[in-house]
Amino acid sequence: MTDKSPLTLEDLPNSYIGRTIPRPNIRRLAEGRGTFTDDLTLPRMAHVAFLRSPYAHAEIKSIDTAQAETSPGVIRIVAGEEMSRYCTPWVGVLTHLKGLKSAPQFALAVGRVRWQGEPVVAVVAQSRAQAEDAVALVEVDYEPLPPVVDMETALAPETPVLHPELGDNLAFERVVEAGDVDAAFAEADAVAEEVLHFGRHTGVTLEPRVLVGDYNAGAGKLTVYMSTQSPHMMKNIFATHTGIDEDDVRVISKDVGGSFGIKIHTYPDDMATVALSVMLKRPVKFVADRLESFVSDIHARDHRVKAKIAVKDGKITAIEMDDLTGIGPYSVYPRTSAVECNQVLNLVGGPYDFANYRAVGRVVLQNKNIMCQYRAVGHPVAFGVTEALVDSAARAAGMDPAALRRNSVIPDDSYPYTAASGIKFEALSHQESLEKILKLMDYEGLRADQAKLRQEGVYRGIGLAAMIEVTNPSPMFYGVGGAHISARDGVTIRLDPTGGVTCATGVTEQGQGTEAVIAQIAASAIGVPIEKVRVVTGDTETTPYGGGTWASRGAGIAGEAALQAGRALRANILEVAGAMLQAEPDRLDIRNAAVVDADTGSERMTLADLGKTVYFRGNELPDGVSPELVATRHYSPRQFPFAFTNGVQACWLEVDPDTGFVKLLDFWVVEDCGTVINPQLVDEQIRGGVVQGIGAALYEHCIYDEDGNMRNATMADYLVPMAAEMPDITIEHVETPTGESVLGAKGVGEAGTAGAPAAVFNAINDAIGALGGKITAIPATPELILKALGKV
């Protein structure tokens, strides 16, 4: 099963780092024996369904529940006012995002509804079906108000203000200015300008949001079973807003069927479910169904960017841009909805060496579904803008797009490096990665094919996209702004008298393989076969406090903690073994779950024997020996705010100019995420991410009408990328480990999503440029391409 990769960290018989190891949980999941939160049934468990606003903006005049109360199975019906006594409202702001403002958001709308899909009334019944039956009988009298839909006019004086107490619809604004932008443009040899639109879309998790709130009045304890990325963060939020002591709240996350950033926010229906459990003193389950997921799970992107680039002497010298994004009616709590725009400003131009940068970002409120962080927050927009500009600049300067990139990427020997936007890079490999992908894809050969096929009326395009990714975030991301979101994560490793090893960690398993990675590292660090290792995640009461899964931090942060904890436990074991065997601990080693002579490798005692002696026959131990067969270590990056990764992606596709249909032919990725712990998991993260990025580029779009209603909120009309249309995705690596940790791993969870839209976008324009066409928006539907070609 393991491949033949060279050992990269430690040359031990149990070195699993750098090897493809099948995930320990894969068989259980494949056999249908996963336990997802919806699989859970508790005694006296009730079910909640929500009546959601059919209007984007309306006054609630009255709510009549009389008929619904009599519907079979109904236990309780609750609306906004009553709910607010059990669950206090929240405001999604952070102090380090200066000027960010938002209004209090309630679990159930009070007075006004501000998006189509906002929960208004909760109906608790014996079954979900009965709850839905009763929801249909609740009568709400709404007085529709003019909706604010178009972000372009959200700040116009005649536009209604969503929250009168805020004064206007501007949630956040930021300006970045570096170098002398005007001079750089004045001196440029070539300048290109773009106005680009990035469609609103959402993360479609296979398992929807689901939770069971279980308030035990007798114990005064609240247990929440929840499909989440961040159990400890949710624990704090549930406690804060229900008034239960945080130490009496426990969050348990069982198997999670995908999350992508969807399951890390404070959702009103989730909060209401927990509050209902407190109110009713019994377990209450909420499972979002697909139809309500589309109008209640966070959306993302929806940016309009005007941008300009300058080139001098064949190299990028300046970028100027103006980003506008609409985030719905509230900044989402606790991470806020200013982060995507903030990231765009930080990341634009990220792969390139230039000093002159001016950027303005504005985040506006509107009557659409809430918007927040989804996989690769801001990245696809930032590199969509940057890479579109680079291709346009190459055209304007009469250069090959690969050549302009070659001249302009940050040289591999110039680190540490601070970008014009202020972000800091420890060590990246843009030059090496670019050369590698050009070779991998046979860039010159493709260009020749492209030219030849064009003679035959076949329009193919090559799209390149260089990118960087924010991973391993330090406290500078959220904690510094006042959010109770841990940047630190820990791993506790225990040796049992069986010789088995159990690791508990605060990072979580979303299906991405975190548990496999932790097991690999722990097994390698201690010196035991991986079969001996068990990993426990997703329970605030049994795992070390930590941040969970977000910003590609699991392997880099918890992985380092696992390495350090494993080494500490190993040292503890060797100390005991030394005392028992009357040997110097540093002359001993642990291999294949046995203590051996370091020099000869001959076995002295198995870890199981050692464990049995320690636990059962401690009397045999020499005096003064106090064995600690448990070790905990934590890790949080501190030298750099983030461990940036880098990569290049490339797409080869064909556009049918008669129909606007795009056929994806090939896709390549060269990625540098530092130390690769498990090549298969890393590559599948990249592939999955690329597919999601292709979704953004070609398919996924939350389409709203002028009344603020989402028109395609079903799986029939909201198009996710599907296997039949996907190209093969070939992946290679450059490894530049981060020096901040011993492990050297950076994250990789979002790289694919970050770069793929730009690669597809550029390839389409490369294909249709020959016909005078140019697209300026994604998703690039056949109709959009036909319009770009002037055919409709």
Partner: protein, 286 residues
């Protein structure tokens, strides 16, 4: 979403089915493969009080080919139709179209009769049966009646079926010498409903085409014949120029409305491309 509560009955004879449909009238809905109906129930777009499951009615099953007609029972699944060599010989258009319908899991349950009775404007089979000039056999309490496919589709999800009636089978004329079929479709992803699809059927005499039927799906509230385009081509040898001329008449034949995937103009353009591509395939297929 969960459907509103409903009762369920599974008759084993036509008589029993008619009794149930009569007893419950408007409140009853027939369910065959359930691949269209169950979604509408789950979305609470409809809330019948009883489902009458016809999947146990043997009379509605099976494919049989005589010398002149191919008879396809309403309960034939998309998968069975794709697999049937008899059907492929007698009416090759159906297999060409069926592979565009949804995905294997749906094809394993969804039925030929259900698709026709459901009459989704973007479905493939309705256009095919019109192109093939098939006859639909409808059973009711008082016996059966036969309706030409062209008369069966009244509008958006509306057909000639009256309350209490079942679509029993479809009779398709067996492919005669000289006849050829063509099918083409544009959908955003494999298996999606068509943005535009064209079912074409006609007799070739050398390069000349006769008795041509061009029937579009996905562009109107029901399958539409492109009469004017057909007229341009009738009795003539298929050439690029002639097809271009036929294409230019399509705007008079079709009036596609905007939907979520594309505007009417795009759908008209795609329909024109289909005309060129499908005819060129047919003309090339000796």
């Amino acid at each position: 979403m969960k459907p509103a509560p409903f009762d369920y009955a599974k008759p084993s004879t036509l008589e029993e089915a008619f009794d149930l449909l009569e007893a419950h009238g408007e409140d009853a809905r027939v369910v065959a493969g359930g691949q269209s109906l169950l979604a509408t129930l789950n979305m609470r777009l409809s809330a019948p009080s009883i489902l009458v499951d016809i999947s146990g009615l043997e009379a509605l099953r099976g494919i049989s080919a005589g010398s002149n007609v191919l008879r396809i029972g309403a309960l034939t699944t998309h998968t069975e139709l794709i697999a049937s060599e008899e059907a492929a010989r007698a009416a090759p258009l159906l297999r060409k179209a069926a592979v565009h319908i949804a995905h294997p899991a749906i094809r394993n349950r969804g039925t030929f009769g259900g698709s026709l009775a459901h009459a989704d404007p973007a479905a493939e089979y309705p256009a095919c049966v019109v192109a093939l000039d098939a006859t639909l056999e409808i059973s009711g309490r008082d016996g059966s009646r036969r309706v030409a496919a062209a008369e069966f589709f009244h509008g958006l999800y509306e057909t000639d079926l009256k309350p209490g009636e079942l679509l029993a089978a479809v009779e398709v004329p067996v492919l005669q010498d000289g006849f050829r079929s063509g099918f083409g479709e544009f959908a955003r992803r494999a298996g999606d409903f068509a943005m535009s699809a064209l079912a074409a059927h006609g007799r070739f005499d050398g390069d000349e085409v006769h008795d041509l039927r061009l029937v579009y799906a996905g562009v109107d509230i029901r399958p539409v014949r492109a009469n004017r385009a057909e007229a341009v081509l009738a009795g003539k040898a298929i050439t690029r120029e002639l097809v271009a001329e036929a294409r230019s008449r399509l705007a008079e034949d079709l009036n596609p409305t905007d939907d979520l995937q594309a505007g009417g103009a795009t759908k008209l353009l795609l329909s024109g491309v289909l005309l060129e591509r499908v005819l060129s395939d047919m003309a090339g297929a000796r």
